[in-house]
């Protein structure tokens, strides 16, 4: 199987730049997958029952990551999926409380 990453620097596909391998995908239940192209339909079939990351979608569907990112971007644009980007302090999301929760949870494991 082949997977790939989205590199920095956007072009062709608008929402693609924000898609991380660890971005979580949430299906919009109000947007029926009927009529979607076959691969997009497979992505929705996988995502409708629960939340998964972009990498897991690629893995479960045995599709290259680059391909999944293109399909997912279109599904976000069409309102079928909502993307939840990973928490990353460097990206300017400062939430000390969240980091403490990460640490506490690790210590309790």
């Amino acid at each position: 199987m082949i997977r790939s990453h989205t590199a920095t620097g956007g072009d062709a596909i608008p929402s693609r730049g924000s898609l991380d391998d660890a971005t979580l995908l949430v299906a919009e239940t109000g947007a029926p997958p009927a009529g979607l192209p076959a691969q997009a339909h497979r992505v929705m079939d996988l995502c409708l029952p629960g939340v998964l990351s972009v990498s897991e979608v690629a893995y479960h569907l045995q599709l290259p990551g680059a391909v999944v990112k293109v399909i997912v971007s279109k599904l976000i644009d069409s309102g079928h999926l909502i993307a939840r980007a990973p928490y990353a302090p460097l990206a300017g999301q400062h939430d000390e409380n969240f980091l403490r929760q990460v640490l506490d949870a690790l210590q309790k494991l």
Partner: protein
């Protein structure tokens, strides 16, 4: 760990956090990710162009000669609100395109070191420093591998003093977990909220 399909999804309200695990071939990345992961660790092959750039569009996938680089990823649900993803990949300079894109959006990095070939982990440290991403260096102790004083290790790795250096056994959950705890503690300790605007 046996894989169950009921384990497939993460809690619906969860936010993800990403940590990258870097280091040369056979240093224990796959082992580390597998030890920590609650799901069967997933191994994938990334395609790179000969120029070392990541294949990132369909055009690239269609034609040109590419080389592959292995990547492992695993998952650890921490609470109903937080799920940790671990991505393990070689940190060598020739894979820098891939490593850079993987570091984007990451909380931090863990660099694994084998004391029989310390210098092989330097590229990973360089890439993390260059990206300004917080990281912790972990000596993965192999049987019969030499043991050095911390100051010597830091020298050999050209590691800044403020970055943590720990020892661990990637095969043991409690030990691997400790590496993550040191990394997150250190990030928290240096955490400076941005002034309110």
């Amino acid at each position: 760990m046996p894989y169950k399909s009921s384990d497939r999804y993460v809690p619906p309200g969860a936010r993800s956090v990403k940590i990258v695990v870097l280091g040369p071939f056979a240093v224990g990345k796959t082992t580390f990710v597998g030890t920590v992961s609650e799901i069967r660790p997933m191994r994938t092959e990334e395609e790179m162009t000969q120029a070392g750039r990541l294949v990132d569009d369909l055009e690239d996938l269609r034609g040109k000669t590419t080389t592959t680089v292995a990547m492992d990823f695993g998952r650890l649900t921490l609470t109903d609100d937080i799920v940790l993803y671990l991505f393990g990949t070689p940190g060598q300079h020739r894979f820098r395109g891939m490593v850079r894109s993987l570091m984007e959006g990451a909380l931090g990095g863990l660099v694994l070191v084998d004391t029989r070939r310390i210098a092989d982990s330097s590229d990973a440290i360089d890439l993390l420093e260059e990206a300004g991403l917080p990281y912790t260096v972990a000596i993965n102790h192999f049987d019969g591998a030499p043991r050095y004083a911390e100051s010597d290790l830091r020298d050999s790795l050209s590691m800044p003093d403020h970055r943590p250096l720990v020892g661990l056994d990637a095969r043991m959950f409690s030990s691997a977990k400790q590496g993550l705890i040191v990394l997150v503690s250190d990030i928290l300790a240096h955490f400076r909220p941005e002034p309110a605007r």
